[in-house]
């Protein structure tokens, strides 16, 4: 089993609801984020292009719950671990706060809690998952851009927010029934340096820049 989150970047509007919802539910310390939204671009649509032939997208970045997580390999106590559902979790009772996992993570999603002196990061909302729920960033996505499922079971297993319109019988919306069609060429991951990030990003019709040149925060007022 490999739990993962799909993010449809053609739907993401950069509202930061996922970021705020995560922070609220998990009581993340001020100054730290378990889910941060990065604005990538404006980038040229083609080589040498200039305004108005530019585009940008918003990229929610969180722990990618990698298949070969370097933070797990480097942890001297075994506090960072890969669980059965494929997520990477931290045992806060074992963590010694050495910070090695902070160095190892290529996406910089970990930090040391200044009160407890242990490492923290996205937990995939394990408290929701165990009650058959979904991560808060998925349930609160106002653009229905975030979907959660099991990569091993395929795209059909990915679900999102509850259907309140009655179109899906009151159940959670299914990704493959809801979002616009996409091809495998539209599916991307953050840069893979052998760690195997699990999360997937869908970007149709534009060049994928990953997080290159990304700016934290999604507002144009920055």
């Amino acid at each position: 089993m490999q739990k993962a989150i799909f993010t449809d970047l053609n739907r993401c509007v950069g509202c930061l609801s996922c970021s705020v919802a995560c922070k609220a539910l998990n009581e993340v310390q001020i100054g730290n984020f378990w889910n941060r939204v990065v604005r990538v671009g404006p980038n040229p649509e083609y080589e040498g292009a200039d305004y108005p032939d530019v585009y940008m997208y918003f990229l929610p970045v969180t722990c990618q719950h990698c298949e070969n997580a370097p933070c797990v390999a480097v942890c001297p106590t075994g506090a960072s671990m890969k669980t059965e559902d494929g997520t990477v979790q931290i045992d806060h009772e074992q963590c010694i706060g050495c910070g090695a996992c902070l160095d190892a993570c290529p996406y910089g999603v970990r930090y040391i809690n200044i009160d407890t002196n242990v490492a923290e990061k996205c937990t995939f909302c394990s408290q929701n998952i165990k009650d058959d729920g979904v991560p808060q960033c998925v349930s609160q996505c106002s653009g229905n851009a975030r979907w959660v499922g099991d990569l091993d079971e395929g795209y059909d297993s990915f679900v999102g927010t509850y259907d309140t319109d009655g179109d899906y019988g009151g159940e959670r919306r299914r990704m493959m029934d809801f979002i616009e069609p996409f091809t495998e060429e539209d599916v991307h991951t953050l840069p893979d340096i052998g760690n195997g990030p699990s999360f997937r990003y869908i970007l149709r019709g534009h060049k994928w820049y990953g997080a290159e040149g990304g700016v934290e925060g999604a507002t144009m007022a920055m």
């Binding site: 963590c95 910070g99 160095d103 910089g108 997080a211």
Partner: protein, 294 residues
């Protein structure tokens, strides 16, 4: 860009204790050393204890320090474990020297010291080459620390011979060894600085968690404190690269029986090597600055 002073102290004291014991071992195998061995072994143990203290200070949860040995496949754990092995070996060496008729280090002990010293340098490097995705994941880091241990070891032993007023000091050997080790350190640092960026990996292991190779690290673009950190690197380069071999040569000149012409030549070589080491470290930090400015 933040400097982790406990990590810096851990690496510096670790390579110093490894180099000291290792150099002692080499001298013992050559039948040299005499009464210096006892004091040097004690000093090596003290340096090791200092490295242990720095290693503990590095942790956020010092009360859980013994958890660090739970996952020995991790380079971090290996870096701690080797210090324990080193301390035990140093105690064995001290006892063996004390029991020796001439208070010198037996040959078997010399072999043990060389092996333990190499193991310790490797273990400290394992902190840097731990399974991770930054610049430390290269054999160059291990070679760099082994060379640094040699340079530190020759330096410390030279001082010990001088302090002990031991005329049997192999001054040319120590001066030459220090010069070669410093040269190796400088060359490896240069290679590290020039190759590492081309592989898309970051430089300088004394800085914690400040790389952005995938473009989204939260510290990307934050380079306001880089100037101060460069100053630290320059000072370290000057002290390690420039002064160490030069001081050794000057100390060697004061030892009776040492050939002055040879020592003068070594002194010149040492300064040239030190300049090369300083330049390479400057490139090292310069590359780091460029990458941090990306």
């Amino acid at each position: 860009m933040t400097l982790s002073w406990p990590l810096i102290a851990y690496v510096m004291l670790g390579v110093a204790c490894a180099g000291t014991l290792g150099t002692q071992g080499v001298l013992a195998l050559r039948g040299r050393g005499g009464k210096v061995h006892l004091y040097s072994a004690i000093l090596a143990l003290v340096l090791c204890l200092g490295a242990m203290a720095a290693a503990v200070a590095r942790l956020g949860r010092v009360d859980r320090v013994f958890n660090v040995l739970a996952h020995l496949s991790s380079g971090i754990s290996q870096g701690y474990a080797v210090l324990i092995v080193f301390a035990a070996a140093a105690v064995v060496a001290i006892v063996a020297i004390h029991r020796d008729e001439d208070n010198s280090m037996p040959r078997w002990c010399g072999v043990m010291c060389v092996i333990v010293a190499l193991l310790t340098a490797y273990g400290i490097a394992a902190n840097l080459t731990a399974t991770g995705l930054h610049a430390g994941k290269t054999l160059l880091a291990t070679a760099y620390l082994v060379a640094a241990a040699l340079a530190a070891g020759f330096f410390v032993m030279s001082i010990m011979f001088t302090l002990c007023h031991d005329e049997s000091c192999p001054a040319p050997l120590l001066a030459l060894g220090s010069t070669i080790a410093s040269a190796a350190t400088g060359i490896l640092a240069y290679i590290f600085a020039t190759i590492a960026p081309t592989l898309g990996i970051r430089a300088t292991q004394i800085v914690k968690s400040d790389y952005g190779m995938v473009g989204i690290h939260p510290t990307q673009g934050i380079n306001a404190s880089v100037q101060n950190d460069q100053l630290v690197l320059w000072v370290l380069a000057l002290v390690v690269g420039a002064l160490v071999p030069l001081v050794i040569s000057l100390i060697a000149r004061k030892i009776k029986g040492a050939g002055s012409a040879g020592i003068n030549a070594l002194g010149v070589i040492a300064v040239l090597v030190a300049v090369a080491a300083t330049v390479s470290i400057a490139l090292f930090s310069g590359q780091a600055v460029q990458l941090l400015s990306r």
